[in-house]
Structure formats: C-alpha cells, structure tokens
C-alpha cells in the first residue's frame, strides 16, 4: 500500500489509537498506580489499567484506506497482539 505524502497538498487524517492490555493480562503499572492513588487518599478506585495512546497524521483522504493502513500498522508494530488489544479512531 502506498500513500501520497504531504499534508499541505492533500487532506490529512488523524488516527488515534488506544492500546490496552487484554483481559486477564497482569498490569503491574496499573496496580502500582492504584496503590499510590489510594495512599494519597483517593478512595473508591476499583481498578486502574494503563495503556498506550498513539496519534498519527496520515496523508490520506479515503477513510477505508486509512483504517486498513492503521490496522496493518497496529498488527505489525504498534500493538503487541499477544497481550494487547487496540482500538482505532479516525478523524479528519
């Protein structure tokens, strides 16, 4: 797949990707953060899960193409699909 580069000439899309740990996968970061929040007196927190957030600017104006490309990037690099899920959100 090839996109034409250059945001100036073409319309640009922004992809926002949320990467979260799959259910049941241990989240040591979330667990430690939860403990410290509790220690600071923030009560009533039942669960803290930490993930990644990635923003991409794409030189692409066809949403289907963009979604396919971003999905491929997630599968190939951005998410570790053995333990992570990803969610893609496109806006123009």
């Amino acid at each position: 797949m090839r996109f034409v580069a250059g945001c100036a000439k073409h319309r640009c899309m922004k992809a926002r990707i949320l990467i979260t740990l799959k259910n049941g996968v241990l989240d040591p970061q979330g667990k430690a953060t939860e403990q410290v929040l509790a220690g600071l007196g923030f009560g009533g927190i039942n669960d803290v899960r930490q993930g990644k957030y990635i923003e991409l600017d794409l030189a692409e104006n066809n949403p289907t193409n963009a979604l396919n490309a971003v999905r491929a990037m997630c599968e190939k690099l951005l998410a570790n699909t053995v333990i992570e899920n990803y969610e893609i959100d496109l806006d123009e």
Partner: protein, 734 residues
C-alpha cells in the same frame, strides 16, 4: 457419566497408557482438577520423563558440594561460612512468542529459585541463541529478549554480568533464552522445600493469582473456555517491582526462625510447589482454595492450581509465627494468606466452596511419574578435515581475515547487549562483561566468584561427545583464565524432539562428554534444567547443552589478573598444544565455501586440559603473568586481538616455524589453550617445561597495531571499529 473423554486426556498431554496409570493410582476416574494436576506433574517439563535416565549419569559430588540437583538450585561451599547457590533455566518458547515478557519472566523465575533457598541473588547471566541474522524475525527477537532481560534484572537491582550470544539458522523457529542466577547465603541459613510438622500452616505470599499461562490446549476444552471472552493469552507478564518486594520480604522473614519450608511457584505454580513440598517432606497438604488471593473473578479451582502467575511463593511456617510473618509481608505491600495445613495423610487435598475437589495420593503421583528410556542412535563420527583441503579456497591476508572474523555476528563485540544490562549495581562487579568470566566480589569480603556460561553448539552437532566435553571444559577454562578455582556447574540441556532417536543420541552423547569432563576436572553438576522439543517442522536446533560455571577467587587483591594486555614490551606466551584444527572453526564458517560448518570439532584431551589449566592458575595466583585469556572461537589470533583491544595495546605475533600452515596456526581452534603475558618469559617457559605443559613465546606486546609475521598489520583503531560495529548496525532502527 464420564467427564473425562479420550480427547480431554489427549489435550492434557497424557498418552492412553499414562492415563491408565492415573486410573490405577486414583482407583477411580479423576476429577478435572486432578487430571490437570497429573497432566502438569507428568509433563516433560516437570517430570523430566525423557531425560531423567540420562541426567542420573552426571557426576554431582565434590567435597564442596552442599546440595546437588533435586532442590530449587545447587549449593556449594565457598568458605568463611558462605554458600553459593546457583542455577540456570530456560524460557525458550515463551520468549519466541513474546520476547520481552518471555525473557523477563525467565529472569524472574530463576531469581526466585535462588532466593527461595535463602540466598541474596548477586549476579545474573544469560545464554542466548538466535536464528540467522538475516532471518526476518531475528532482529525483533534479539531486541525484545535483551530489553526484557534488562527490564527485569535492572529493575530488581541484580547485576547482569555476562552471558553469550550465538546465531545459527537452526534457531530460526526456536530461539534459546537461558538465564542463570547466582546467589550467596550463609551456610547455616539455607532453606529447603520439604514440608514438615503436622498441623503447621501453609502460607501463600506474593502476587495474586490470575489466569496467566494456563496451558493453551487445556483452555480450549469447552468446559473451561469462557465463551464470551477473547482467547486468553498464555503469556505471563513479569512484575520486577513486586519481585523485588518479594525478595526483600522473604529475606527479612528468613532472618527469623519462622520458616520450616519454602518453595517458589514456578512452572505449574501452586500444583508443583505443593506436590514437591509434600512429597519431599513425606506429608500431606490440604488447601482451601477459596483463600488463595486471586486477581480475576470466577476463577475455577482448576485455573487456580494450574496458573503460572509470577512472583508467588509457598511456605510452611512454625505455628504461632503467622502474625509476625504477615506483618513483614504487609510492610512490603504483598499478599499473605494462610491457605492450608500440613497433614499426615500423604495426600494433596483441595477444597473449594466447602467441597472436596481433589484428593490425590502424593507419593505415587511423584514416584510413578513416567520415565522413558527412549530409543537413541549415536551421531555418526564426523570426518576429520585435512588442513590443506580446508584452506584450499582461502586466499587472504591474516589481518584481513582477522578484521572480518571479529566483525562477524558470532565473534563481534556484545557491547550492544551488555550496555542494556545494569552490570554494576550492588557495587561488587570487579570484572565487567567483555572478557572471559565475570568476577563478582562476595560482599564485604576479599573473596570473589568467577562466573561464566559456555557452549559451542556447532561442535555439539558434529560430535556430541566432544561437544559436551568442550562445553564443560570451556567453562572451566574461562574460570581458570580469571584466576579462579572452578567449583561446579549448572547446565541447561536444550535439544530437539526426544522422540526422534537421533536427537536422543545427541542428548546421550552430550551427557557422556559432559560426564567425562566433570570427572576429569573435578567440576560437578549441582543444578540444571532440560528443554526439549525445540523443533519446528521437523528441524531441531543444534544440540545446546549450555553450561554455567562458578569458580572461587580467594583473594581478589592477588589471585586474579587482567584479560587484556597491561604493558608494552612484554612477552606473549601460548600455553597448550597447537595442531591447527580447522574442522567447525569460525574461519571456515566465515570464509570457506566448501567446508563451512564441516568436519570434526576439535577434540578435548581432558588430561591436558587439567594440566594446562592448573599450571595457568598457578601462574596467575603466583603473580607470574600480567594478563591471561583463554583461546576459543576464532583461535589464537582472535584471542590475541581481544587482549589487545581490551588493553588498548597492540602486539607483534610471529608465524610458526613448525610445519603448520600459517592460517591453521592462527585460526585453528585447538582446545585447552591460553595466552598469557609476562616480563619474565624464560622463567615461565622453564616452569611449563618441568610441569609437562606445552608453552611457547608467540610475540611481544606494544604499539598501536597488531602485526602478524613480517609486516602484515592492522591498527587497533580499525580492529576496534570492525569489532564494535556489527551489533549496533545490525540492531539500528528496530
């Protein structure tokens, strides 16, 4: 109504015959949780069913051995009331699936094996084998594994002081990640796993139990698949921070007299830890699974027993010490739960929701675990390569050959790897990675441990017996070259599918060779690990019996020496006999079209090995040499180049006057050899002569370059660039 169908038995990895044995032991059909327990206890990983027959042959005794194989780790006496506790373990398959977490949890697991015995871990090592550098997966795997090992070890604050890295296409689909930990304990404060004391509390500490690592195949069975949920990953995630807390909390409790027995939860978690504790103690254990701290909702007893969640321990405490122990674990913000008691029934009894869901007699579960003497065929003896044939198609100047060799994936500097490991934390690393053995001071004393890992799989595949000998001998040699007295080894036997007779033949051959070497060198095996089925599409990995060796330096102020040249104008001596053996050499791997990875590996003469090594150690301890390095992969010129680079001092190396062709002499991989430097060569040569040890002067140190023969030279700068660039360039932009 039969719950257990032949399919379920198959998914649990049990053969029909093995299942018949289960039925006989139980006297009835097992319940699902019981079947799960048999399945993991009788797996290759836990039962060593294919390898036990052979492992029994390894020598395990010496006057300094306190505890040989069978416990969590081996224990040796290092004097002054201290013991060294160490072991190596593989995490091959998980690291291939998810390199970062697989390698990280491998480090976590081996650390627990060490501190569960009462030792504070003081050093980590790692022996890594990857596929061909050009294989599309290799870079990603190298990057992930190294980051994972560093991620865990750096965080917990145990220095990673050395290891080895090999590349070979046979590992394309099965990388090897073997991690070793060395710890130090007081000899009168070593903890074992045998449960004792009827009625004593059994306590669970550490992280909560989740559904980590429950075997994929069993998860697929309809009963246990929570249909709404995504297919659960079988990869565990490590939490080095929690492990650090667990380490400190355990050591704090161990300083009291509260613990009767302790066992980490490794593979097969609660199952193997409880079975081992009760079997070793000749007692029964009863658990109320409702009291096990869990991380996820609605976990079944089956899942709780089979979970491989990390950073957990099981202990038997003296009665009345529970509250004191609880306080320690709560201070370190860890879970602490009394989940059961020691009983006199010899049975593992599990209750959940008030119901008994498991009741297995422990002695037959352990004693009647299957053991196979699988058929094997010896590897046919390889043809010895004639030197002239081997060298026929090599036509290049020695220093050009050297520059390419030290820049090859197998011989280049591993700096890219070890700089990602904190190798200095704890402030006792006297010799950092980059030379032979690492040297780690016994904290607060003038003693030190020398530590190394070694194996040359390309030798093992050609001749498993010689390869097995060589792996042990090289470890011994590396320790010796640092001035240490080699004491004992741990091993990690990585092989292909044991159901193939050729693979079992490799296994048998390596064991035979290792046994010979251990006996000849007084270098017993005190712990180890076996990893089989490292095979993809019928191609197995090179047989890889990785050896982790530990030696003792009694006085760090006097008994060790540099691995690099230390002064200009000193004589360079070669200790040991050189015949110019080229079979399986790095020279041929890099330069030969016809004989790459061909021929017989260099044989190891164990008597000469012992004689040469003992002589060299005496030289070092007697302060009669200024530097010492063993000669291994790549031969004499590569070893000399390494010494020059380490010391930033060049050298002139002369060519042989004997009948050996120059390239065979410079790059042959004859065993049992060392390079040393001295300002009084005559003295050393005379001493060698009277000890019956071959020794000759091969050159002089000095200058900014390495010169071979008359005038063929390369500057140290160029040599260093060649040596240092391959790894960072290969790993750029991963």
């Amino acid at each position: 109504m039969s719950e257990i169908t032949p399919e379920i038995v198959g998914e649990h990895g049990l053969t029909p015959e093995e299942y018949q044995r289960v039925l006989r032991i139980m006297g009835r059909e097992p319940k699902m949780t019981e079947l799960g327990i048999f399945s993991v206890m009788w797996s290759e990983h836990c039962s060593y069913k294919s390898s036990k027959f052979w492992l029994k042959k390894l020598p395990t005794e010496a006057p300094w051995v306190i505890c040989g194989p069978g416990e969590n780790a081996g224990v040796i006496d290092i004097g002054e009331g201290k013991a060294c506790i160490f072991k190596m373990e593989s995490h091959n398959h998980p690291s291939f699936i998810e390199p970062y977490q697989g390698a990280a949890t491998g480090v976590g697991g081996i650390l627990r094996d060490i501190f569960t015995m009462g030792a504070r871990p003081v050093a980590n090592m790692n022996a890594l084998r990857f596929g061909a550098p050009e294989h599309p997966k290799t870079r990603h795997l190298v990057g992930g594994v190294v980051a994972g090992i560093g991620g865990y070890g750096n965080c917990i604050g145990i220095p990673t002081v050395g290891g080895e890295v090999n590349f070979d296409p046979s590992y394309n689909g099965n990388i090897l990640v073997n991690a070793m930990t060395v710890g130090i304990a007081d000899t009168d404060k070593i903890f074992y796993s045998a449960a004792a004391g009827i009625g004593n509390p059994v306590v669970y500490v550490g992280s909560k139990t989740g559904r980590d690592g429950i075997h994929g195949a069993t998860m697929a069975s309809a009963e246990f698949d929570d249909d709404s949920e995504e297919k659960r990953p079988t990869v565990q995630v490590g939490d080095p921070f929690t492990e650090k807390l667990l380490l400190e909390a355990c050591l704090e409790l161990m300083a009291t007299d509260a613990i009767i027995a302790i066992q980490d939860m490794g593979a097969a978690g609660l199952t193997s830890s409880s079975v081992e504790m009760s079997d070793k103690g000749g007692v029964g254990i009863e658990f109320d699974l409702d009291r096990v701290p869990v991380r996820e909702e609605a976990m079944t007893p089956y899942e709780i027993m089979l979970s491989e969640s990390q950073e957990r321990m099981l202990m038997v405490l003296k009665p009345g010490r529970e509250n004191m122990a609880r306080k320690i674990f709560e201070k370190w913000e860890l879970d602490f739960a009394i989940i059961g008691t020691v009983t006199d029934t010899n049975r593992l009894v599990l209750k959940s929701g008030g119901e008994e869901i498991c009741n297995i007699p422990v002695p037959p579960l352990v004693a009647e675990a299957p053991e196979y003497e699988r058929p094997w065929v010896a590897t046919p003896p390889p043809r010895v390569l004639a030197i002239d044939d081997a060298l026929a198609d090599i036509n290049i100047a020695p220093t050009d050959a050297l520059a390419r060799l030290v820049a090859s994936p197998d011989l280049c500097s591993r700096r890219w790897v070890w700089e990602q490991y904190d190798h200095m934390v704890m402030a006792d690393t006297l010799r950092r990675p980059g030379a032979d053995a690492a040297i780690v001071r016994v904290h607060g004393t003038d003693r030190a441990l020398a530590i190394t890992t070694d194996c040359t799989p390309r030798y093992c595949v050609a001749d498993p017996v010689q390869g097995g000998r060589q792996a042990v001998a090289e470890a011994w040699r590396n320790l010796t070259a640092s001035g240490a007295k080699p004491l004992a080894i741990t091993d990690n036997m990585n092989f292909g599918n044991p159901e193939r007779p050729e693979i079992m033949g490799q296994f048998a051959g390596c064991i035979e060779g290792m046994t010979d070497a251990c006996l000849a060198l007084d270098f017993p095996v005190v712990s180890g690990n076996v990893s089989l089925y490292n095979e993809t599409n019928g191609t197995g990995i090179l047989p890889t019996p990785a050896i982790g060796g530990v030696g003792l330096i009694e006085d760090v102020n006097n008994d060790t020496t540099s691995a690099g040249f230390t002064a200009e104008g000193e004589a360079i001596l070669l200790i040991g006999n050189t015949s110019g053996h080229l079979g399986r050499s790095m020279l041929l791997r890099v330069f030969s079209d016809n004989y790459r990875d061909a021929g017989a590996p260099p044989p190891v003469d164990l008597e000469a090995e012992r004689r040469n090594g003992d002589f060299v150690r005496d030289l070092i301890v007697g302060d009669r040499v200024s530097a010492c390095h063993d000669v291994s992969d790549g031969g004499l010129l590569v070893a000399a180049a390494e010494m020059a680079l380490l010391g930033s001092i060049g050298a002139e190396i002369s060519l042989p006057t004997t009948g050996i062709p120059a390239f065979a002499w410079l790059f042959g991989e004859d065993q049992s050899r060392y390079i040393t430097t001295t300002s009084a060569p005559e003295e050393v040569l005379t001493a060698a002569n009277s000890a019956g040890v071959p020794a000759i002067m091969i050159g002089t140190t000095g200058g900014p370059q390495l010169t071979v023969g008359d005038g063929n030279s390369i500057s140290l700068l160029e040599l260093r660039n060649a040596h240092e660039s391959w790894f960072p360039e290969y790993m750029a932009d991963v």
